[in-house]
């Protein structure tokens, strides 16, 4: 591989890892916020346990979202300084919004939510998780604004040898953005819903003592997944109206797109026409539980296929018909530099991702008995109920 391929591989690996965690964050955040709100209103211990258990899954997943995101942000300057040199006056604005406003607030409110248990007034605590959700969606929005600019450089004109920002409104109403953003949000909800479904099916199959807890979680998951896949499919097809000419001439992108659509549709049919009608008694259909469990990784795989189609289809352009990836690469970047950082990032982030998924699986296996999240005093875990 030459240095360009190495730099692209580094971006693809870290970007894919990042999105695996982000897509679940986007789906779980509103669900945990709803659970917390219901607990605050009813005071029902079941709602408290749901908030803490699914909240724990959410925050353990969040950890990897943060650390992979750090690499993404700094990677632009490390390997792709030609992008900021040529288009920084345009592309930098949404990135600055994302980091300076949306993610800044998201991280601050998440800290308040995680450590606010027993310290914040009840409704202020609920407000924190809603603010985390709102700013997480804001972060996703500005990231998509930046990415959509690469797909379709709206709102900018060439001035000298650089791009100048002429119309920020055009950046926000970019035709590459208006349908792709809700598509991503739908995919997040679908993923979050399917994780609730898969984990609940596992616990019901194991005849966990918390049958009511997981029956309710299963239903919430099915309904969320149905809403999510409906949005994803609708806004997915809507994107064809604004896709760049010649994007699917790229074989890799076309294959990824085809696979995503085929399997996405199949999953959509299963969720909307089998799981949703069965939502009332799916918890009793024990034969279905292994199928629901093995379906859990599919939304993640589809999300990655979607990004492969969108990003590989953009090649060889960094900014469509304006700047190639070869010209966007940092001048002077050597294969040795990228190889070293690629190996280091892949090894460290890959290992941490595996550890994180094992920890999430552990949280689910343990069940809602005394989760770490929200523990304000030492609670005893009854070993008989934990495993």
């Amino acid at each position: 591989m030459d240095v360009l391929d190495l730099a692209r591989t580094q971006f693809a690996v870290t970007g894919s890892l990042h999105f695996l965690f982000v897509v679940l964050t986007l789906g779980l955040a509103p669900l945990v916020a709803i659970m917390h709100t219901r607990w605050a209103r009813s005071g029902n211990p079941l709602h408290e346990r749901m908030t803490r258990f699914w909240g724990q899954v959410y925050v353990v997943n969040y950890a990897l979202g943060i650390v992979t995101g750090l690499v993404m942000e700094f990677q632009f300057g490390l390997a792709w300084s030609g992008l900021s040199h040529y288009a920084g006056d345009v592309f930098g604005a949404p990135l600055a919004m994302e980091t300076l406003v949306a993610f800044f607030l998201e991280s601050t409110f998440l800290g308040l939510w995680i450590f606010g248990w027993g310290r914040l007034p009840r409704w202020a605590h609920v407000a924190c998780i809603w603010l985390v959700t709102l700013t997480a969606y804001g972060s996703a929005f500005f990231t998509m604004v930046a990415n959509s600019f690469l797909q379709n450089p709206a709102g900018a004109l060439v001035s000298g040898d650089r791009l100048a920002l002429t119309d920020f409104g055009a950046l926000l109403t970019n035709e590459a953005l208006v349908f792709s953003f809700p598509h991503v949000i739908g995919a997040g909800l679908f993923t979050g819903g399917m994780v609730l479904v898969g984990a609940s099916a596992y616990k019901l199959r194991r005849r966990a003592p918390e049958a009511e807890f997981f029956t309710r979680s299963l239903r919430t998951g099915v309904v969320t997944a149905a809403i999510g896949i409906f949005l994803t499919m609708g806004f997915g097809y809507a994107q064809f109206a604004g896709v760049q000419e010649g994007k699917w001439d790229n074989t890799g992108a076309a294959i990824a797109l085809g696979l995503m659509i085929e399997f996405g549709q199949l999953l959509g049919l299963i969720v909307l026409f089998v799981m949703l009608p069965m939502v009332r008694n799916l918890h009793r259909r024990r034969w279905a539980h292994p199928i629901l469990i093995v379906m859990t990784p599919l939304p993640f795989a589809l999300a990655i296929l979607g990004w492969v189609a969108r990003e590989v289809g953009r090649q060889p352009w960094m900014i469509w018909e304006k700047l190639t990836v070869a010209d966007a690469m940092s001048p002077g970047l050597t294969a040795g530099m990228v190889t070293a950082s690629l190996i280091a990032f892949t090894a460290v982030l890959g290992l941490l991702a595996v550890v994180d998924y094992v920890l999430i699986a552990r949280v689910i296996r343990r069940g809602p008995q005394a989760p770490d999240l929200g523990a304000t005093a030492p609670e005893t875990r009854s070993p008989a109920l934990s495993y």
């Binding site: 300084s81 980091t99 280091a344 990032f345």
Partner: protein, 254 residues
């Protein structure tokens, strides 16, 4: 407008040193003050509620670098490629240590991640000293220079001092002498001093290389209305987690 955004940038970078400085300092002190697992738990518990609100200042610094100084962003980060990669890896390991250390019971698991917190904090603190040296030379000299290494030691010591002051302020008496809020403010200023010095020297150059006014105007219109919210959220963190008897309460999520 260039001046305003320079002030924002300087505030974010100095704020990162003054705030995240004590988190990194506590991380550095873990093997020094935290001889037992219980002491380390309490040290981490004391700083844990602040970490997410503090480390994000550097995320904002990088975003501002991209938005306000696009011509410098690539030059700075690419110019220090191996150092930036090493600092990112340190940051990742420090964060992973915090998020993971309490997820499994067992002394070896927690001991390993506590070591990662200390190691990552050291890598970041030391790396900042070297970065500041490179910045002071206009990124013309390699950061691996006796002066760069010396600055790495200085920044690490300043952060450790700041971390110790923070522990004395947040959990008075639990880790040595109690410290006042004023002492914490002074140690925060000391921790930010190296960054402020480099910023003062770089000011004319930064002002000259700002993004054009069209970009800065958009950023101002979009970002400045949120400034009170961002500030309010930070104040809320400090009010909620002010010192008290539950400051080093365990179990803490981190």
């Amino acid at each position: 407008m260039e001046m305003l955004w320079f002030v924002v940038f300087a505030l974010l970078l100095a704020g990162y040193f003054a705030l995240e400085g004590f988190d990194l300092g506590v991380g550095l002190l873990l093997p020094v003050l935290g001889r037992t697992r219980e002491t380390r738990d309490r040290m981490v518990a004391a700083m844990a509620p602040y970490v997410l609100a503090n480390e994000v200042w550097l995320v904002a610094v990088a975003g501002t670098l991209f938005g306000v100084y696009p011509l410098l962003e690539g030059r700075v980060l690419f110019g220090l490629y191996p150092l930036v990669v090493a600092m990112l890896l340190s940051w990742i390991l420090r964060d992973a240590g915090l998020w993971f250390r309490r997820r499994v019971d067992g002394p070896r698991w927690r001991g390993f991640w506590d070591a990662m917190i200390a190691f990552g904090s050291l890598g970041l603190s030391f790396g900042w000293g070297m970065t500041l040296y490179a910045a002071a030379t206009g990124f013309t000299a390699s950061p691996v220079h006796p002066l760069g290494l010396l600055l790495g030691v200085v920044v690490s010591l300043l952060f450790a001092l700041h971390g110790q002051t923070f522990l004395g302020w947040r959990a008075p008496g639990a880790f040595g002498t109690a410290r006042s809020g004023r002492a914490l403010l002074v140690s925060g200023l000391l921790a930010a001093l190296p960054a402020l010095g480099v910023l003062a020297g770089a000011a004319p150059y930064l002002l000259e290389h700002s993004a054009p006014s069209a970009t800065l105007n958009v950023l101002s219109v979009m970002v400045l209305p949120f400034a009170p919210v961002i500030l309010g959220a930070q104040v809320w963190v400090w009010r909620t987690f002010r010192p008290g008897k539950d400051a080093d309460r365990v179990p803490s999520f981190f």
